[in-house]
């Protein structure tokens, strides 16, 4: 029936509820049938204000651009200059975020190491300890110090190029980790000192310190064990970025890593991923403001992560005041995660390429988020490393392209004045003017 008069009395067409959408209803039915929450990998899938909502202004009458190919636009960054004897020097302002062996396969960790080393940047261990694959193939390796302390030992601590104390992550600020039994192989179990095949939890808080005053002493211990040689990062999930950054600096961090809710996790409750934390766009300016208020901007470096996909994202994060970005999900996609070539197998798992997020189940057709030997063998770590290197090069070239267009001879010279916002929300969060105006929403004494 339509509203054509020939069909009789006009009738209301079926209307789907925006609130009780098909997806929401499906989740209600799933919950009713199983009685337990949904667990998945990845970061927030909901639409949130993002770096996409910003634009660069480029050069014009008042600014000179640099020539696109020949004029120098440096990308080197140094992290950990505050206290460490050996800060980390990177060729590019893009690092690989912490992803555990256990969540990822050994070949995937090797591929990340190979690609990062080719590109002149660092990788990060993740929960579960340091693997030889990653140490050997990562020229610069950041060793995460997590609440679980799985695999933690002083020998690996001293083999690390930096230590990252994980207080939280953007996908689940305030939450711990999960690694379900399907992925607890003999090797993973041995590294974590757990029975094989059990569903394993990584606790949500550290076992031997509480609060920033204790953390300051913990950092002292780690520095004494490593002879004050390597930088100490503190990673926080985006929640209270101004105060978290302030407290991290007070506790003695060389580097603050700020992870927005778009950042991925190996496995957590969907409700946590989608409803706890802040988008990265809301985090960067507040973290920068905290550093500036303490006179520590550029003294303590800021690395930001969560939803970085392109060189434009990189450039925007740097323009807002970050010293570097970190990528996780994008690096996995570069290796082959969610590639349409595996569509038939994604369909068998009840999903489709691009939407696959049951990383915790260990059945990843791309062979990345699995410990299944047959699936793992699908990822060639040499080829994976080559692809990651290519991708990192493209991100860098794109960021350079934008920086040159803004007249900058170093990507870190990008600044908020190079940006405008497309939406009022983004303008208010980024503390930059709405496009085409001199209005800073939420900021007193600006126009309009």
């Amino acid at each position: 029936m339509t509203d054509d008069p020939k069909d009789g009395i006009p009738q209301t067409v079926p209307i789907q509820s925006a609130i009780f959408s098909n997806a929401a209803n499906a989740e209600i039915r799933r919950a009713a049938a199983t009685g337990i929450y949904d667990i998945r990998g990845g970061g927030a899938k909901r639409k949130v204000p993002h770096l996409d909502d910003l634009l660069f202004l480029g050069a014009s009458m008042s600014r000179y651009p640099l020539e696109g190919y020949r004029e120098k636009c440096d990308t080197k960054v140094t992290l950990g200059t505050r206290f460490a004897e050996n800060p980390i020097e990177l060729d590019i302002p893009i690092t690989i975020a912490g992803m555990s062996f256990g969540a990822l396969s050994g070949p995937a960790k090797e591929a990340l190491g190979r690609g990062a080393t080719l590109a002149g940047t660092s990788t990060t261990t993740g929960d579960g300890g340091m693997t030889e694959e990653e140490r050997v193939h990562s020229h610069k390796l950041v060793y995460q110090y997590l609440p679980s302390r799985y695999g933690m030992n002083p020998d690996d601590l001293r083999r690390a190029d930096a230590i990252e104390i994980v207080v939280g992550q953007g996908a689940k600020p305030g939450g711990g980790g999960m690694l379900l039994g399907q992925k607890i192989s003999d090797r993973v179990a041995e590294m974590r000192r757990l029975p094989q095949g059990i569903d394993q939890r990584s606790s949500c808080r550290h076992p031997d310190w509480t609060g920033p005053d204790d953390l300051e002493i913990k950092i002292l211990e780690l520095r004494e064990i490593t002879g004050w040689r390597v930088p100490i990062y503190i990673k926080v999930g985006g929640a209270r970025p101004y105060f978290d950054t302030t407290l991290a600096v007070k506790a003695g961090a060389d580097v603050v890593v700020m992870d927005g809710m778009e950042g991925g996790t190996a496995a957590t409750q969907n409700v946590f991923i989608e409803h706890v934390g802040l988008p990265l766009l809301a985090c960067i300016p507040e973290a920068v403001r905290a550093l500036q208020d303490m006179g520590m901007h550029r003294e303590v470096q800021l690395v930001v992560s969560g939803g970085i996909r392109s060189g434009a994202d990189v450039a925007k994060a740097l323009a807002l005041g970050a010293d570097a970005v970190s990528i996780g999900t994008a690096a996995l996609i570069a290796l082959g995660d969610n590639d349409p070539r595996w569509e038939t197998e994604y369909n068998k798992l009840g999903t489709t390429a691009g939407a696959y997020d049951d990383w915790h189940e260990g059945r990843d057709p791309a062979g990345i988020t699995t410990q299944d030997p047959d699936l793992m063998a699908r990822l060639d770590p040499v080829e994976g490393g080559r692809r990651l290197n290519n991708y990192l090069n493209v991100l860098t070239l794109e960021a350079q392209t934008i920086a040159r267009a803004c007249g900058k001879n170093h990507v870190l010279n990008l600044e908020p004045e190079d940006l405008c916002a497309l939406t009022m929300e983004a303008a208010a969060m980024a503390k930059i003017p709405l496009a085409g105006t001199d209005w800073y929403p939420g900021k007193p004494d600006t126009s309009y």
Partner: protein, 225 residues
């Protein structure tokens, strides 16, 4: 014996000198005086040293110890012998929170009482406490043995994995999934060895054994609350 005055020479010089012993090995016996509750004393040792601290220590004394024997002739602040890999740490007095946290190996002996979360997330360390332990001890303990010659506080062994707990006195309450288990001959033998190494004259037969019921090893609806 090498005597090191922490007050005059400083923490960095102490730990640098002790860590040099993993290569130099020219001083096997050390005495640290004037610790005055300082933090991170004798951390990251990796040599068969015999270190005595004359006085009480702050946080993380003997953290991540390997091979060395560290004797604290006083009381220890939070996190003593945290993440110890091997060797032995003896505390003459009491130990604060998180004693032996996440330890992978070696032996920690506390001759007084240990505060809350003793042996939290332990991964193979053996801990012998002559006195009592506080609440949430052996929380998420994965492997190793916790021996409590006195009483244990609330929520003992909450979310326990495969660590063994032996308690001689009372247990205020057991944590989630921690249950009393039968003390079999092999456990008495393990306990006898621990008590002997822990310099404790208690008898194994006086203890009860606690361990994981292994009901939380897999997520299901009954475990989700």
């Amino acid at each position: 014996m090498k005597v090191f005055d922490l007050e005059t020479e400083g923490l960095r010089a102490l730990n640098a000198a002790l860590n040099e012993q993993s290569v130099a090995r020219d001083h096997a016996v050390w005495e640290i005086v004037s610790p005055k509750g300082g933090h991170a004393i004798a951390v990251g040792l990796d040599a068969p040293l015999d270190v005595t601290v004359r006085g009480s220590t702050g946080y993380y004394c003997a953290g991540m110890n390997k091979q060395a024997t560290v004797h604290i002739a006083g009381s220890a602040g939070p996190g003593v012998a945290e993440n110890m890999m091997s060797g032995k740490v003896i505390v003459d007095g009491d130990a604060s929170q998180y004693a032996g946290a996440t330890g992978n190996g070696g032996l920690l002996v506390v001759k007084g009482n240990a505060s809350s979360r003793c042996g939290i997330s332990m991964k193979g360390i053996d801990i012998v406490v002559h006195g009592n332990v506080g609440h949430m001890s052996a929380f998420m303990a994965q492997a190793g043995n916790l021996v409590v010659c006195g009483d244990a506080g609330a929520a003992l062994g909450d979310s326990l994995y495969e660590a063994r707990i032996f308690v001689r006195g009372t247990v205020e309450s057991l944590g989630a999934d921690c249950v009393e288990k039968e003390m079999r001959p092999e456990h008495l033998k393990i306990l006898e060895d621990l008590l002997q190494r822990g310099e404790c004259d208690a008898k194994p037969e006086e203890f009860k054994r606690y361990g994981s019921a292994r009901q939380f090893y897999h997520f299901n609806i009954d475990n989700a609350y």
